[in-house]
């Protein structure tokens, strides 16, 4: 009888031990970072040769006002890492910055890139590059519109920025689209979703932003 009891005690103990050390509790914040890239295969049968970066990180917010606070803490990392990758791919002469001000803010990392202002001639870049950040959890597919100040510029932008189902607060998106098709809602040719970049540690956020944007371009060899 004692032996039978001992068997059951052992079985219970080992099973409890196994459950107690079931994996899944050793996840760091950085482990949840992902970089997803989606592209339309037909749009890259001929890779682009030039690009213009809209020098503004569009903040995608919810209408209920329940957005996370954000004051452009990682704008510079988003824009400048994107710019650096574009310059690497297409060359400094084939990359442009679209800015509504004479002095772009944040300061571009590459001073040799040409700044295009609202009333300058259209450089006819192959791709417009549109950075944005989600400040409210999105649970659908839709379009959001950047601030009014783009109206009246030489592209007659108010380009829509796509957002997608179930992307988390803090996700950074960078999209590419033919500038001549910015006004329609057919979706971007290329979009990266860099998930989970916002934590309370700004320095940590900046490092992960640079790493994430670099990874997005690394895993998209069809862009060049």
């Amino acid at each position: 009888m004692k032996k039978e009891i001992l068997k059951y005690v052992m079985l219970f103990s080992v099973t409890a031990l196994l459950f107690s050390c079931y994996p899944g509790n050793d996840t760091d914040l950085e482990d949840l970072d992902t970089v997803t890239t989606i592209y339309k295969t037909d749009d890259f049968s001929t890779p682009p040769k030039s690009a213009i970066v809209i020098w503004k990180v569009v903040e995608i917010k919810g209408e209920d006002g329940d957005n996370i606070p954000y004051h452009g803490e990682i704008d510079s990392e988003i824009l400048n890492t994107t710019l650096d990758n574009l310059v690497d791919m297409y060359g400094v002469d084939n990359v442009y910055i679209a800015s509504v001000t004479d002095t772009p803010s944040p300061v571009p990392s590459n001073s040799n890139v040409e700044i295009i202002k609202q009333h300058d001639p259209d450089p006819n870049a192959d791709m417009a590059v549109l950075p944005s950040i989600l400040l409210r959890k999105n649970v659908g597919v839709g379009w959001t519109y950047p601030p009014y100040w783009w109206w009246g510029c030489w592209y007659c932008w108010y380009y829509p920025v796509p957002y997608y189902y179930d992307y988390e607060v803090g996700t950074v998106m960078v999209s590419m689209k033919d500038p001549n098709r910015l006004g329609n809602e057919e979706g971007s040719s290329w979009t990266t979703f860099i998930r989970g970049l916002l934590s309370s540690n700004n320095s940590f956020n900046k490092d992960r932003t640079v790493k994430g944007v670099n990874q997005a371009f690394d895993q998209s060899p069809y862009l060049k």
Partner: protein
């Protein structure tokens, strides 16, 4: 007639008493190391496993029985190539990030063992188990999860030894096993070594 009954009873008694033991039970902590395709998926040594084994002796040297086990293999990998995505609607892409990989295995096997005469109290044995293996494979990247499961046919050769604690019917069970499972569903064939250490009960 009475002599026949007495003779029969004596023969049966002699036969039963000639078996040194009638059953063997063991409960083990299993340490696993995947090999082959399974090892490519999770290559590290995992310490999350348990098995329960029951055997009935049909003579001094041979037993038949069954076993059930549960193994959880886990590894966290970073710096891997991105996983390809093909949405099938003219869009494609990649997803990259730290991958948490899980394998949950539940082999349920019938087995037979042969016990060598060691000349001492301990009992070395070899055996083979055959049956089914339920496998769940799951890869998590960030909050995305890709999983599939299967029921496969499995075989498990084994060598081991039972070392009694003194003269009691309780002892240490040590075993080295190789578990093979056929490919099934979306999953490749399974290949895994197991080192089991546990408590054995010899009745």
């Amino acid at each position: 007639m009475r002599k026949i009954y007495i003779t029969a009873i004596l023969l049966i008694g002699l036969t039963i008493s000639s078996y040194a033991q009638s059953s063997y039970w063991s409960l083990n902590w299993d340490i696993t190391k995947a090999a082959g395709d399974t090892g490519d998926y999770i290559g590290n040594i995992n310490f999350r496993g348990v098995s329960f084994d029951g055997r009935a002796f049909i003579n001094d040297n041979i037993s038949i029985g069954g076993s059930v086990a549960w193994y959880t293999l886990y590894d966290k990998l970073s710096g891997l190539p991105p996983i390809e995505i093909d949405n099938g609607d003219g869009t494609a892409g990649h997803i990259s990030g730290t991958q948490a990989r899980y394998l949950n295995l539940v082999p349920v096997l019938i087995n037979s063992h042969f016990y060598f005469d060691s000349g001492g109290d301990f009992k070395p044995y070899i055996g083979i188990g055959l049956g089914g293996i339920y496998t769940e494979q799951r890869t998590e990247i960030g909050l995305s999860s890709f999983s599939s499961d299967s029921y496969a046919f499995g075989a498990q050769p084994e060598i081991g030894v039972y070392i009694p604690f003194g003269y009691s019917g309780t002892g240490l069970n040590l075993a080295l096993r190789y578990l093979y499972g056929t490919s099934a569903g979306d999953l490749d064939s399974l290949s895994m070594f197991t080192f089991a250490i546990g408590i054995g009960f010899m009745n």
